[in-house]
């Protein structure tokens, strides 16, 4: 009889073992987050990113699999600061997965781990829930990336403490490589310090601030509002007294207004990737910044 109990216990142990070995199912809102989670989680995670890197991050068209993936997720990592406000809330509601709701263990909002810029000094009550938390494109400052990697590491350790040392050693290795890269990017960006630029959308602010490139203006009159003739006229008059060298354009907005300005005022139009997968060759977080720096400095 004892033998059977032992066999049974062995069987239970094997089932438990295989359950433990199942990779954590992680859903990331954007590809840059998915890449970071893969770099830290390695063999222990199975990651899917919902949005595509070459689309406007503010808007996505939902597909049935988005709901299924969030429903089965152990961890949901979002960028936050209202970047997903237009599409994530209904997916979260329909997925009906209590463990990845905001505030739960299986939910991580990366914007909490960095300092946001352009936060309005005071938010009046009349604005209701539409008040902006600040510029949400914080991940385009390469100095913020290690902070985000650390936040992801801590979260993975919290959910799966048995492999904490594995995640921490992955983080150490990632940060070491990243610091090497930071030196390289800083060196390459040095000649561009104090070179004035115009952006289409306020998306590269964190990057430009970090490397000391002043922003003269934006082609959009307000975030998300297409350029108007009066605004372009106003921008042209500013550019007459404040020369800018580049116009920075993302990959998803129409570039006709930027092209017009660039041709008229003799500026260089540079299209920059904003996420992993935005342009060919940008397939992880390292190559994202490599490509941004390359396009600015060539």
């Amino acid at each position: 009889m004892n033998k059977f109990i032992w066999i049974f216990l062995l069987f239970v142990a094997m089932v438990a073992q295989s359950a433990m070995a199942r990779p954590l199912r992680v859903v990331a809102s954007y590809p840059y987050i998915g890449d970071l989670v893969e770099k830290i989680g390695g063999r222990n995670v199975h990651v899917v990113s919902l949005a595509r890197g070459d689309y406007n991050p503010h808007v996505i068209i939902p597909r049935p699999s988005f709901i299924a993936r969030v429903r089965n997720a152990d961890l949901l990592v979002i960028s936050g600061a209202q970047l997903e406000i237009g599409w994530m809330p209904p997916i979260l509601r329909q997925a009906n997965n209590p463990s990845v709701q905001p505030g739960e263990k299986g939910f991580l909002d990366l914007s909490r781990y960095v300092t946001l810029i352009d936060v309005p000094a005071s938010v009046s009550r009349e604005q209701g829930d539409i008040h902006p938390e600040g510029n949400p494109h914080f991940y385009l400052d390469p100095y913020n990336i290690p902070l985000l990697a650390k936040a992801i590491t801590e979260k993975l350790c919290e959910i799966d403490p048995s492999d904490a040392s594995y995640y921490r050693s992955n983080l150490d290795e990632f940060v070491r490589q990243w610091n090497e890269k930071l030196k390289e990017w800083k060196e390459k960006m040095r000649p561009l310090e104090r070179v004035a630029v115009v952006e289409y959308h306020k998306i590269y602010d964190y990057f430009l601030r970090r490397f000391g490139l002043p922003i003269v203006g934006t082609v959009e009159p307000l975030p998300g509002i297409p350029p108007t003739s009066k605004h372009i006229e106003h921008l042209e008059s500013i550019l007459e007294s404040h020369r800018a060298q580049f116009i920075l354009q993302d990959v998803y907005n129409p570039d006709d207004a930027s092209r017009h300005l660039a041709n008229k005022l003799g500026m260089k139009l540079i299209v920059l990737p904003h996420d992993v997968g935005a342009v060919r060759g940008v397939d992880d977080i390292f190559s994202l910044f490599d490509e941004i720096v390359r396009r600015l400095t060539q």
Binding site: R63, P64, A68, G86, W87, Q94, E126, G224, I225
Partner: protein, 253 residues
């Protein structure tokens, strides 16, 4: 996932039930784009709610503007000869109005998209059931009253209830899905030789909805667009086919 797909299917059937009736009517009257024009006027109401009331009173304001658009078209369909042009202009007026209003609102466009990005996958079951009850009551009312009226009263009932349903449906499923469900099955049903067009539209519509939702799930296509695609594809195919009682689908009856 079955629960989500089932409620999506249920919603598509509820919308179909109501809109097939209007679809057959708008095709007969030759005022097909009334739906898009009214939907766009409802969006003007939503934009005003965002700009001046921070998103409060969204539904009542949308409804007021939809009713206004509906009455304009009701009026014009009696007066003007070129009422299709008139309907097109109501649409253009609404669309440009939304952009002008929101150009003065910080983050307005994002908020507008958030409120308007109604996807058929995202409608909670309670909303679907509520709408089913409203449409059942409205359908019963139309069944009992509409056929017995004529002239101005008939037009008034038609445009007011149409504006109401467009406002409700667009909020749940988006402009394009509502348009496809409105005219797709109705156009096919009017081509069928036998039976009552409304019943035919229901049967055809339910089959197309079911196929679209299964295809959308299996191939992971956006569900709303898949529905629109199949409704449009079938209606186009049937319309090109050289059979049917197309004589009855003349405008102006």
């Amino acid at each position: 996932m079955t629960d989500i797909l089932l409620s999506t299917f249920l919603l598509s059937v509820v919308l179909l039930g109501m809109h097939s009736f209007y679809g057959i009517e708008v095709i007969k009257r030759g005022i097909i784009f009334t739906d898009l024009a009214i939907g766009q006027m409802a969006a003007v109401g939503a934009a005003i709610s965002i700009l001046f009331f921070d998103g409060e009173y969204l539904f009542p304001l949308s409804l007021v503007f939809a009713l206004f658009g509906g009455s304009l078209i009701a009026f014009a369909s009696k007066r003007a000869n070129s009422h299709e042009a008139f309907i097109g202009l109501v649409y253009a007026f609404g669309l440009s109005g939304v952009f002008i209003l929101l150009s003065k609102s910080y983050h307005g466009m994002e908020t507008f998209q958030k409120l308007m990005a109604s996807d058929i996958l995202f409608t909670p079951l309670e909303e679907i059931l509520k709408t089913a009850v409203i449409y059942a009551v409205l359908g019963l009312f139309l069944l009992l009253v509409y056929g017995k009226t004529a002239g101005v009263v008939r037009d008034f009932i038609f445009f007011v209830t149409f504006a109401l349903t467009v406002t409700i449906s667009v909020r749940l499923a988006g402009v394009l899905v509502v348009f496809a469900l409105l005219v797709g099955p109705a156009l096919i049903a009017l081509k069928v030789q036998k039976g009552i067009p409304l019943i035919n539209a229901w049967i055809i519509g339910v089959i197309i909805n079911l196929v679209s939702i299964i295809v959308s799930y299996n191939f992971d296509f956006p569900t709303g667009y898949t529905l629109v695609f199949f409704h449009a594809l079938l209606a186009l195919g049937v319309s090109v086919a050289p059979v049917g009682r197309s004589k009855e689908i003349r405008p102006g009856t």
